[in-house]
């Protein structure tokens, strides 16, 4: 699933939401439905319902997804225990976690989640199963795919779309992170056309999101099939994947858009370093 989040004018809406939370003010009556606060309230309610239904059906869809990947497609993840240990430690420490990964196929979100935890562990730690942000146009062909996307902790976005919509998506992701849930994003936006992590393709929504969630840790994850040369819709069958990760708490001496760009670039450079490590280990 492609998890692009283009940056947009999300700062104002997010800032207002954060200020309202900090003030702890309880409105005497519900805000107008079309207002920012009204929309945010509705978004949170919808996310809550989505999470609850997904959690209820998780004993079915989580193991089923792994069975499909493992036995139907023949995929294997090598040395997953190393990254799973690091992720478990991060989760145990508490607080928001943003997972940032490289992007080569449409199922990278599922692969990364599988690399980070087993189905049984996720059933006991459902908040640790990452929310992800797929490109809306990839999943609107049928009602079935839309239902699945909704069930599987997805917050769709239209890449390059209306900035107000992107801002709303950033607001939802901020709410999820502040709530202590994990979110998965691909800092490059779409799948890498060159087959390698490209700093020039970096989008800055990641940096803007981190600016809205103080104390958020970033887990950079690099996962790639041994025979994956470039980008594709799906990895080849019977593919073996290698995975590596690194945790960071990016900071910047700048604020605003400049700070967001700086932080996003730090994350992309970490992914580039992990990628080099991946290829070095193969030799």
């Amino acid at each position: 699933m492609s998890g692009a989040v283009d940056e947009g004018g999300g700062g104002a809406a997010v800032g207002r939401a954060a200020a309202a939370d900090e003030a702890g003010a309880a409105p005497s009556r519900p805000p107008p439905a079309g207002s920012v606060d009204g929309r945010l309230g509705r978004d949170r309610l919808v996310l809550g319902v989505q999470r609850a239904v997904g959690r209820l059906l998780a004993p079915v869809w989580v193991p089923l997804l792994v069975v499909l990947m493992r036995y139907r497609m023949g995929w294997r993840i090598q040395r997953a225990e190393v990254v799973r240990r690091e992720y478990r430690d991060l989760v145990a420490a508490g607080g928001p976690i943003l997972v940032c990964a490289n992007h080569l196929t449409l199922v990278d979100s599922a692969l990364v989640a599988w690399a980070l935890g087993s189905p049984a562990w996720y059933l006991a730690h459902y908040a640790a199963l990452p929310w992800n942000v797929p490109e809306r146009r990839n999943f609107t062909e049928s009602i079935g795919s839309r239902v699945l996307v909704w069930l599987m902790k997805c917050v769709p976005v239209t890449r390059g779309g209306d900035r107000a919509e992107v801002a709303a998506v950033l607001g939802r992701l901020t709410h999820l992170l502040v709530r202590g849930e994990t979110v998965l994003l691909f800092p490059e936006g779409g799948r890498s056309r060159s087959g390698r992590v490209d700093e020039e393709s970096a989008t800055y929504g990641v940096g803007r999101l981190l600016g809205s969630v103080p104390g958020c840790r970033v887990l950079c994850v690099y996962v790639r099939g041994e025979r994956q040369e470039g980008f594709s819709d799906l990895p080849a069958r019977n593919q073996r994947f290698r995975v590596c990760c690194e945790t960071l708490r990016p900071t910047s001496r700048w604020t605003g858009l400049r700070g967001a760009r700086d932080v996003s670039q730090q994350i992309v450079r970490t992914l580039i370093r992990l990628e080099q490590q991946h290829f070095d280990d193969r030799q």
Binding site: D6, E7, G8, G9, G10, G11, A12, G160, R163, G189, S201, A202, T203, Y204, G256, L257, R258, A260, R261
Partner: protein
Amino acid sequence: MSEADVMTKVVGILSPYAKNGDALAQVGPTTHILDDLKVNSARLVDVVLAFEDEFGIEIADDDVDSVNTVGDAVRLISSKL
């Protein structure tokens, strides 16, 4: 600095990011940055920061949302000079 000078500098900053050469050749105040020039929306932050550096100004996040056309950019920048 006149608005014409600002316009020239704005177009110069946008040029490397514009994917539609035809629209760039006929650029004017009503030229839409994303829809006409086909600037990647992911690069808008780079464009805005380039405006800041070129003109020595600060552009707030809220102001970014109001910039849709080249003319919007010119007016915003001129208001801060």
